[in-house]
């Protein structure tokens, strides 16, 4: 990282991502999120600071007895863990060095209509926003398609700059009721919609993303309310993301409790209902996203 260069905390760069903005993509996960969705599948990205993580699957118990919790019982610092079971999640990275890595797959981006995607956490929250904009701009300078996955429910310092640097915004539509959204998630639906009007007014390409989660966003009423709002904003496409349990192990690794333990996967009809609700509003629906 060059001295004085803008830096951000990145937990992971994931290549060959297939459902995050079209084509074959490389996704960078930025650390930190002001919201608290109980079904979050990236809990290691909630805090804005680097944090310890321990994967029991990889642990060979070289410094603590079997059965222990590496986060508490292992005396070794993560830097000395032989297997990488214990690690510090989140590393400060400079813009250019990160973009160098993000665009390594550009041959695949070119052939598939892919590019890079910034995700999180909330990649536009707090200090992440300035860093994300710089990363998007640097990526654009190198001729690569850019996308962000965001709630857009955070103050935007400069919507013009965002729209200029970002080719596609993937914007979450979770709990439709503003009151409940604020109460459960801490997420201001009104702020998001205001931001959406601003960026759409500037010509941004936007795809809505609807996570379908039992107990929170499942059900026809929520789907219909979101679909109406999506149509009202003038967004023509939505990705439907059925709830999954792939994030469960990360809760244990990061020492967090998991609210969704044991909740079963969705049935086909739950997803079909949402697709119907969207299509009834004239919105193209894509399950899992492209």
């Amino acid at each position: 990282m060059d001295e004085g260069e803008l830096a951000g905390i990145v937990t992971n760069v994931q290549r060959f991502s297939l459902h995050d903005g079209g084509g074959i993509r490389t996704v960078a996960f930025l650390k930190g999120c002001p919201f608290r969705c109980p079904w979050c599948c990236n809990p290691e990205n909630l805090s804005f600071e680097p944090e310890p993580s321990w994967k029991s699957r990889l642990c060979i118990h070289c410094a603590m007895a079997p059965g222990g919790n590496g986060l508490i019982d292992c005396p070794r610092p993560a830097s000395e863990c032989p297997t990488g079971a214990k690690e510090v999640v989140g590393r400060e990275r400079g813009v250019r060095e990160l973009v160098d890595e993000l665009v390594r797959d550009r041959t695949f981006f070119d052939e598939s209509g892919g590019g890079i995607t910034l995700s999180g956490g909330e990649c536009l929250a707090g200090r992440n926003q300035e860093f994300s904009l710089a990363v998007l701009e640097e990526t654009h300078r190198r001729g690569v398609h850019t996308a962000v996955e965001t709630t857009l429910a955070v103050p935007l310092a400069d919507p013009d700059r965002l729209v200029a640097a970002c080719d596609l915004l993937l914007v979450d539509f979770k709990i439709a009721s503003p009151g409940r959204s604020m109460a459960v998630l801490g997420l201001d639906v009104g702020l998001r919609d205001a931001n959406l009007r601003a960026v759409l007014g500037l010509g941004a390409a936007v795809v809505a993303r609807l996570p379908i989660v039992p107990g929170f966003t499942r059900g026809l009423a929520n789907a219909r309310a979101n679909a109406e709002r999506i149509r009202g904003l003038g967004i023509s496409r939505a990705d439907v993301l059925p709830f999954h349990q792939l994030g469960e192990a990360k809760y244990a690794s990061s020492g967090r409790g998991y609210a969704m333990a044991g909740v079963p996967q969705l049935g086909g009809s739950d997803v079909a209902d949402v697709v119907d609700a969207l299509e009834a509003e004239g919105i193209e629906a894509v399950v899992h996203g492209e």
């Binding site: 060959f16 297939l18 074959i24 032989p82 297997t83 695949f108 052939e111």
Partner: protein
Amino acid sequence: MLTARTQRIKDRLVTQRRQVDLERATLYMESYQKTEGEPAILRRAKAFRHLLERHVIVIDDDDLLVGNRTATPRAGVVSPEMSPYWILDELDCFAERPQDRFDVSEQDKAFYREVLAPYWSGRSLNDWYRAHRPAEVESAERDKVFAVAQTDKGQGHIIPDYEMLLSRGLGDICRELSERACASPDNLFYQAALICVEALVAYVGRLGREVRIKAADVATDDVRRGELERIAEVLDHVATRPARDLYDALQLVWIFCVALQHESNASSISLGRMDRYLLPYWRATVERGVSDAAVRELLQCFYLKCNTVVFLRSTESAKFFGGFPTGYNLVVGGLDAQGGDASNELSELLLDLQHDTRLPQPNLSLRVHPTTPDSLLHKAAEVIRLGDGIPQCFNDEVNVRAFTNRGVSVDDARDYAVVGCVELSIPGRMYGLHDISMFNMMKCFEITLREHPEGFTSFEDLCQEVERTIDRYVALMVKGCDACDLAHRATSPTPLLSTFVHDALEAGADITAGGARYNPSGVQGVGTANLADSLAVMKKAVFEEGSLGYAQLLEVLRRNWSGEGDEELRQRLMHRYPKYGNDIDEVDHLGARFLRHYGRQVETYENPRGGTFQPGSYTVSAHIPLGEAVGATPDGRHAGEQLADGGLSPMVGRDKSGPTASLLSVAKLDNWRDSNGSLLNVKFSPSTLAGEAGLRKLMAYLRAFCRLDVQHIQFNVVDKATLLDAQRHPQDHRDLVVRVAGYSAMFVELSPQIQNDIINRTEHEL
């Protein structure tokens, strides 16, 4: 979908128990007993003729094509004239061994022990090889750096000129041979070739008579009788004349394939660019109004036929090539001589047939280049997604260049095809000894460390010493390969095959005597990934950080990580140092350096046929036995553990950055140098390729593969759960086909070791 007929044929194929078949060995001996003292090439031709005269013909109840290699399908044909010894040693093991089992009757065992083995002892190709192999090669082979192949079996690994067969017909070729034999009465090759082609003409005639007898037997069944009469008419015609249509062409190609097997008993006499040479005959059939369904059924019969021939290998060889890779490699797509797209209507159809047959042969290969039509690539992606590992894909962008770099003309280079698994060859013009040896670079690394207990002053010193060890053993390997090359010339010429390989007819020389236009010897450098990983660990830990002493490392490796604290060290070396296959330049470039060095060393040697040695890099399933020969290594491998699969693939479980990163790692190698062919395995979970969007992404991945100048790629698309279930309940998965390496095989017919290897190859899923 298979028809009722072809489904019955397939059902019999997959349920049939495999037998060892002594018919060929017996007939061969009978003939050799009568030709003592004659030149080898004439003895071989006469033995071939005797075989075709006496071989038992079986006409299937359903099949639309005839031509049986053995009395029961998938029987193992022994060739004691190549080597009687390993068969004698293993006679009692065929039914029990871990890989490629066959039944042998007690009566056959006794006949083999008492008659065949004593006759061939001292007379075989293997005897010649061992008598002429330099002593230093024999001792080097014991170091397990390399093992010369085809010292106990036919050479194979070649594509004859099928277009010549179909367009000229056997009669015209006979006429030319007679003329040449008359003009050059002392030329033994012409005499031998004429004997062989005339024997083949007579054999086709005999097949026709047998079919007519069978037709008379089924007089009550009008439909089948009509079919048999049609087959007999086809046989009468193609016995001497050019093919008229698809039926003629497929029947003639198949009988020719069977005859070539009778001549050589060799793996990988491959099918070449079938969409090219079948096209006029397919058109003639379609234009006559034959229905698509009838065309499809005929092609299904041909594909099923390709699965009736398996190759009986020694137990050791079966470890290297497990699961009967017979090598009916069939290529579609690619460039034409002008550099344009050569694909046609047949290309997609020949790929699409895999939907119906779902069997390992023919081993379908797609040649990809920048103007490969999207529709063909889409069809290939669809078939790949079936999960049989078929087709594998070859990259014209790099492979044409690989050939021109070896002095092959641009026109010939653009016509390349594939033999066996992934070996690149020029159809009808090249006798390439493509599978003559594998070279274990990891063993060279291990020997280097062992010979230098004092250590090295620098990392560069270490690297150069490894290179010197490689050079030393390459020189020995070359001598061994040349001895084998000459053994085939002296004892086992192949005049029938040679007749269909240019320019043997013009030269009047068998291909074993240098009659082919192109004459390389292909030797595979194995161990790139493990060598790069091991050296990257040593570079950092020993030479840069100093966190690991050289003597300490050697001691830990010697005791195979069994000491106090060794496992912790092993984990650290495995997880905390960069590994090949993750698009990390410093380690990938180490792999590139050594594969390049190996190739540059190899290509300095000439062979006895006037060609040069050329490098390749594939393992088939040999990464398992080659790994067994290597002790613990600094990349965290245990002693005896497998090496990285494929040839160019990352070590199993070490590529954690996904399939784009691993492809970029492989792209850093001098892939154009590996003109003998190289192999990359990639495994996708089925969910990754779901839906049209999944197919589009696979197509994009293949387009990127083409741009990145990687030679070859193949895919396993089966989920882990299915494979684990097939291990537990093999009876429920008898027809599950998976990719091994360069070829596909029935999963349940693979040894547990190879099964586990396939299960463990990294599955990329998101």
